[in-house]
Symmetry: C2
Subunit: 255 residues, 2 copies
DNA sequence: CGCTCTAACTTTGTCGGACAAAGGGACAGA
DNA sequence: TCTGTCCCTTTGTCCGACAAAGTTAGAGCG
């Protein structure tokens, strides 16, 4: 017969975790603002009354979580977690879970359509200028797959930004990061891929400028379907995302 | 006149980072599989030829990233990053970026609709059984806001799971985690909130079972609009997500 | 007076060694 | 089979130390 639950589990978190939690609390509840200095390791040793090694382990945890970072002179500051860094964690997780390109494609279809809808509704002049600038650069490198793929990735980040919805921006990023390396392969392998890609971007900017939601959705779908057709020429949609991820992740880590 | 580029930048990452990178590489490229033991700290000291403090800092990084964890006896294992843990990082970031409930609502509308569409198309019998079980538990606690809110959160996780799309599952989670605490407040404040919530779930399960996409989308929209109406009775949609986050994040950390 | 260069001083990254507490395993006894 | 005990390993934490890189305060100079 099971005993009646008389005691609660005791909180026995190790010291470095408590240090990390304590600092995180101060940042999340706003007592430490992004940009504020945290103090030197020695300061923290004094404040928490634990050894420097312990403090350093706690700092690593927060650093990895993107809550604090070291500036040029390696001093500690609170900071806003960068989306791209967090997204690369997620991308890594997706790779490890061996998600397929089909899942990626389906999710991206949803997310990119939502982005363009937001952009059509709320894009500012500045957003449009950024997009136009991106388009110009894309046209200049239409013959260089690597550079074009990078422009494409940036283009969709800018569309998401133009949606003025940061939740959406963040939600689409992990899938987008996994798309990116394949775009280069596709543009390389399919002759008319580059021009079609740029043309789609042009139509998308046009749709945003005219606030034409239908056109925006239509061209986003076409754009993604182009990707899909191109991809299916080189691999099956049911293949899991794997190696293509590696290099890109390494590059992202260097920031 | 600029010198010809004779040398490449040298990799001057600190040792603990190199340790973390090296282990991460082995995990991501599959040479170490999820579940495999990593070895003791002492083993790693020998293998990498650095001090144990250095190894420990590297381990903290990987642990925070969810790539390795310590089992009951605190031995190190590789593991698949848990979505919920990563998502709580993202939720935290969203809080710090002071996103508004409007952004949350809009993004969730997109993501939850996509989830139900996937679920209608691909839910298995097992998925349906889990959902039915959740519904039964929800009906039992319809008068207890906290328990009901928890059931609601789980319900939508199960719907996303039924979509068989892990990218979608992951993408919706951060926003969902921020929703969750408010559901309790709403169910508490609005008398008919609980029964309406359960009724919506019932219709959603029914739609999935009948593979009725229209009904699924319709009831998902209604369900979210209910949330919105309830929320607007207690606060403005343009308020940023803040304090409500804290407690939930703390609880999530304990796993 | 303002600028540069140098000599302290700080801070970080790393190292070596140390120890208590907790877990795991083997073994004896009931 | 279950329990208690002893021993060994591993982890979490601490102490002290040092080189390298960055910072600060002057000293010296124009």
């Amino acid at each position: 017969m099971p005993v009646a639950p008389l005691f609660r589990p005791i909180d026995v978190a190790p010291a470095y975790q408590k240090v990390a939690d304590a600092i995180e609390r101060e940042i999340v509840n706003g007592r430490i603002k992004p940009g504020d200095p945290i103090g030197t390791e020695h300061d923290l040793v004094r404040q928490f009354g634990v050894n420097r090694s312990t403090i350093r382990e706690g700092i690593r945890v927060l650093e990895e979580g993107g809550l604090i970072r070291r500036d040029s002179s390696r001093r500690l500051h609170a900071c806003l977690p960068r989306y791209s860094k967090l997204a690369s964690r997620l991308s890594r997780a997706l790779v490890l879970h061996e998600v397929t390109f089909r899942e990626l494609y389906e999710a991206s279809m949803t997310l990119e359509v939502a982005s363009i809808e937001g952009a059509v509704e709320r894009a500012s002049e500045e957003n449009l200028a950024e997009l136009a600038d991106n388009l110009a650069r894309s046209e200049a490198v239409v013959g260089h797959p690597a550079a074009l793929a990078e422009c494409d990735a940036e283009f969709h980040v800018l569309v998401a930004k133009a949606s003025q919805n940061r939740v959406l921006q963040l939600a689409r990023e992990p899938a987008a990061q996994l798309f990116y390396p394949t775009t280069e392969m596709i543009v390389t392998g399919v002759a008319e891929g580059g021009p079609r890609l740029v043309a789609a971007h042009r139509h998308l900017i046009d749709a945003i400028r005219r606030r034409d939601r239908e056109a925006g959705v239509l061209w986003t779908r076409r754009h993604l379907q182009d990707w899909r057709r191109g991809f299916e020429k080189i691999a099956s949609l049911d293949r899991s995302v794997e190696h293509m991820y590696m290099e890109h992740a390494q590059a992202a880590r260097r920031r």
